[in-house]
Symmetry: D2
Subunit: 148 residues, 4 copies
């Protein structure tokens, strides 16, 4: 598959992934723009890309017996995206703690214009739903081997 | 909770449920109408109402160790629904076989105008995903005790 | 239609609406719980109920030539909802300014347990997308005639 | 952008586009598989890719003053897709008439396994919602210049 994902570390060493895709028609609403809840699913797709890009796909996280439950979501809407726009979600691992992590997001048009910013916070939970430490193998990959 | 569901049997003895709700904004698209995939989720909500109304809520079906996998969906779109419209989904159990069943649907405006028709076919599967007989207790309730 | 909506004013005079509905199957995800983006659409449904309950349905807002664009969304996830749960969205008009407003939300199980809290901020825009004053007739209704 | 779309004409001269993407988490449901309504949105994404690939993006169709309203949808579900699967939607323009057209779809895993088949039928409507002829420039591009 051609790669739609660009992985790098920013100046402060944080893991960043850019994911590029087109707006789907069903993501629009009667205002003629992308519905505000759709961006929340794009943030999720950005996280998926990041974890996949660093070698921690969901299948591996699940194999470790943990999940990353969403505990907080925030989004600020600056400009709307439209059907067929090519957008880029810039996902950054802002903070990685022993049992939680925070991502930030920027949704941009392919041309660069910033549309939406946001963040999500997650806690690591085991199969019974209890808060659990993030396994060391996963931590190391998320950080790109930089701060372990 | 006030009851939004009306259960009856039609002239041929088939179980029918009418479910009434309003169109949600996120179900619309940039044409200003309800997106065509949203009606497929309304069909599902109609089925949920029917199984609940006859005393077979999902929790009981799951407790019997089976699921009703969707194998066919069809829909015909006559007129569009719009945001804030009050709609009625008329769900009819058209056929109940030993290991499968078929529902038909009519989506109407509260005033009566027919918007969309459709059907879905389902097979009963056990937890390993194999086709399995529909348990007799569930069959009896779905039929309303008429043809057992 | 049986009324699923309960409108009142709280001790501080704020307009509040409680909206009650069941979780739809398509709102769940592979964790077996309601997907976190679905709550954002429930917040929207809560706002729709509130504006409808106070006599400002969307059709009237549109007839005034304005829309309420979403500029901020936040949600905190405490406990998950599941398919078929009956939930209540408590929507409160927290602040009404000349050109913007803020709603807060609580999503509860019908039995009372708090699942999710959140807020949204909106600005009034005209058809060309420019920020515009909220028409006085709409303001008065949103406030329930209390603080006009 | 790396190209995720492959356009060709089959042995009978029909226009075909293959579109490749990954399953998003929010497209799954509590059965742990992709929700059946999500495939309907994938069909739409397949159509979008086809019209874009032949040089008829939505913006051009809109500029001609027409829309392609969905009048029929059908889907058959053979095997489920799961989160993170890479899938291919094969979209084929089966029939192009003066005022309507029919597409067929195959959803496959990247490895080839067939998951879902389907079809949609559309009529060309003008801005007032009346059935209208498909403009010749659009017809020619959809057919790839073969049967004009």
């Amino acid at each position: 598959m051609p790669d739609q994902t660009h992985l790098y570390h920013d100046a402060s060493g944080k893991t960043v992934v850019e994911t590029r895709f087109r707006v789907r028609y069903h993501e629009t609403d009667a205002m003629g723009i992308v519905h505000h809840a759709a961006y929340i699913t794009w943030f999720e797709e950005g996280r998926s890309s990041l974890t996949r890009a660093v070698g921690c796909p969901y299948s591996q996280v699940a194999a470790e017996g943990i999940d990353f439950a969403v505990v907080d979501v925030a989004a600020r809407y600056l400009k709307p995206a439209h059907y067929d726009d090519e957008v880029i979600v810039v996902t950054r691992l802002e903070e990685l703690r022993s049992r939680s992590m925070t991502f930030s997001y920027e949704v941009r048009l392919a041309g660069g214009q910033l549309l939406v910013t946001g963040s999500t916070r997650h806690v690591s939970v085991d199969r019974s739903g209890r808060v659990a430490s993030i396994p060391e193998t996963i931590r190391a990959r998320l950080q790109g081997g930089r701060n372990v």
